[in-house]
Amino acid sequence: MIEEAPALELRGIGKTYGRGDGGGGGGKRAVDDVSLSVRRGEVYGFLGPNGAGKSTTIRMALGLIRASQGEALLFGRPVADRTGLARTGSLVDGGTFYPFLSGRDNLHVLARTQSNRTADIDGVLARVDLAADAGRKFKGYSTGMKQRLGVAAALLNEPDLVILDEPANGLDAAGIQDMRGLIRGLAAEGKAVFLSSHLLHEVEQICDRVAIVSKGRLVRESTVSALLGRGEALRIEAEPRDAAIAALQGRWPVEAVADGLRVAASRAEAPEIARLLTAAGVDLFTIGPDDRSLEDIFLSMTSGTDA
């Protein structure tokens, strides 16, 4: 069986605005040497603080911005080739549409621009729960409705790759839950979903893999479970901390964190750690799995940026 090329592949892609190389020679480097790939059937999260280069990267992947270095491939073909773009749906800037047209007419215009004469416009409108308001002019839509119409537009050509820039922006709790189900449903259908978001809790729940960018550079790419490191560390509250660290160092990597210690040890090793600390005269208050949230990890990796 021939393995299909990744739905989206970025190879050392970068963007420098203005003249120069973005270093000392002038110009502003917005994205620098980002490489990643998104496979079909997975939801890939693209995280980073404001100004980290997420939107610029997405726009390069969609051919809206020319890359200064590297290349973006869609289904193994350069973006400029356009065959990959025909299999891609996208939502950028929270849904950009013609304000004087209705939601339905906006989708008609987009479908015709795509040469998609058999588009199931009513079907995608129903899928994003916008059928009742499809006849209203776009300029009268709420932020959430605009976002949902943007998702409908992204699904209009039944794409194999869906690129969503902040898809949950402007949605209420129920809308976010619907969006979560929709995105997981797309992945279940075998589509690749590449989404940027600042709602880390959402990303944690729906993404299979994530990449974290900071100051235009990719700082980590991993599966969500590996990134969270579930079951790979213990969180300990003990006093005095210095004595606790001295007792454990040498056996396990120990890291002092805000409210105690983080010990790189498995759950099965917890009783042994407890005995060791007690024997060393350390008062042990709590010991348990260190379930850091994606937010903790994100903040530790991107600290020092303008987030």
Binding site: T56, R59, L62, G63, L64, I65, R66, R82, L85, T88, S90, V92, D93, T96, F97, Y98, P99, F100, L101, D105, H108, V109, L110, R112, T113, Q114, S115, R117, A153, N157
Partner: protein
């Protein structure tokens, strides 16, 4: 390509500017025609018009075709073309359609639809005017001997063709300004400035000629302004002779002026495409 043109038409048919800047022409002609017909039916027909001769009668019947290529008509066209191209920046909608189709096709579709709508409005207004003339004839207004349907058709086709040249030029430059500036207001201002410069050209050329005769003569022949006026002149039968000083004139053939304007339109179109294809849409 046809789909891109249909999509552009679907988009523009609902925009208010299409009515205010394009369809307003046939609408006003229709309203005026209706008002005149109602007035005549109420007040009765006046004294019959003096016999003007077939050639004059046919030439007068093409008057409506001259409006779109006038300064006022081209101002409306420039404003409309600026909106068609720069509107995508204002609405932030290039991001919606650029991933869906080649950039050059999007630009070409806009040219075709803008030009097509203005031409359609012009033809509609002309047909309404001809219908009014026919009604007048049926009601007893004398038609000079020698006026035939083929002669009318030939005259209107010729006048229409001449009118479309300045319209195409106006659209080409308004589109270029819109793509380069990414601003509706800037595109409109630059397009209007071009029309004003065109109107001032004869005065400026005559004023500047004594200071730099060779340069002025080259500029008059190379820039589009004289040639647009010259084409307008040929539409009425004779070209425009620009008197730079006693004994020194610029008078060019229709073919030469058409070639220069075609070159300017092609250059503006090439610049528009080149700029847009390389443009980052942030």
């Amino acid at each position: 390509m046809l789909d891109a043109i249909v999509a552009e038409t679907l988009k523009l048919r609902r925009h208010r500017a299409t009515w205010l800047m394009v369809w307003i022409f046939p609408v006003v002609v229709a309203l005026v025609t209706a008002a005149v017909l109602v007035y005549h039916s109420v007040a009765g027909a006046g004294a019959p018009s003096p016999d003007k001769g077939a050639a004059t009668w046919i030439a007068n019947s093409t008057l409506l075709l001259r409006f779109p290529s006038s300064s006022a008509g081209r101002s409306l066209t420039a404003g409309f073309a600026a909106l068609v191209f720069a509107g995508e920046y204002s609405w932030n909608t290039w991001k919606l359609i650029v991933p869906a189709r080649d950039r050059w096709q999007l630009v070409v579709a806009k040219w075709v639809v803008t030009f097509g709508l203005v031409a359609a409005a012009m033809i509609a207004a002309d047909l309404i005017g001809l219908a009014a003339t026919a009604i007048d004839a049926v009601r007893g207004d004398p038609v000079p001997a020698g006026v035939t349907v083929p002669a009318i058709a030939a005259a209107h086709l010729r006048a229409g063709a001449f009118a479309l040249v300045p319209i195409a030029s106006t659209i080409a430059f308004a589109a270029l300004f819109a793509i380069v500036t990414r601003s509706l207001l800037a595109a409109v201002i630059l397009s209007f400035a071009l029309l004003i410069i065109e109107g001032l050209l004869p005065i400026a050329a005559i004023y500047l000629y004594p200071r730099a005769p060779a340069l002025v003569e080259v500029l008059v022949k190379a820039l589009p302004f004289y040639h647009l006026a010259n084409i307008g002149g040929w539409a009425k039968g004779t070209g425009v002779t620009l008197l730079l000083r006693p004994g020194t004139t610029v008078a060019m053939s229709l073919a030469a002026s058409l070639a220069v304007i075609a070159a300017w339109i092609a250059a503006a179109a090439a610049a528009t495409l080149t700029r847009f294809i390389r443009q980052d849409l942030n």
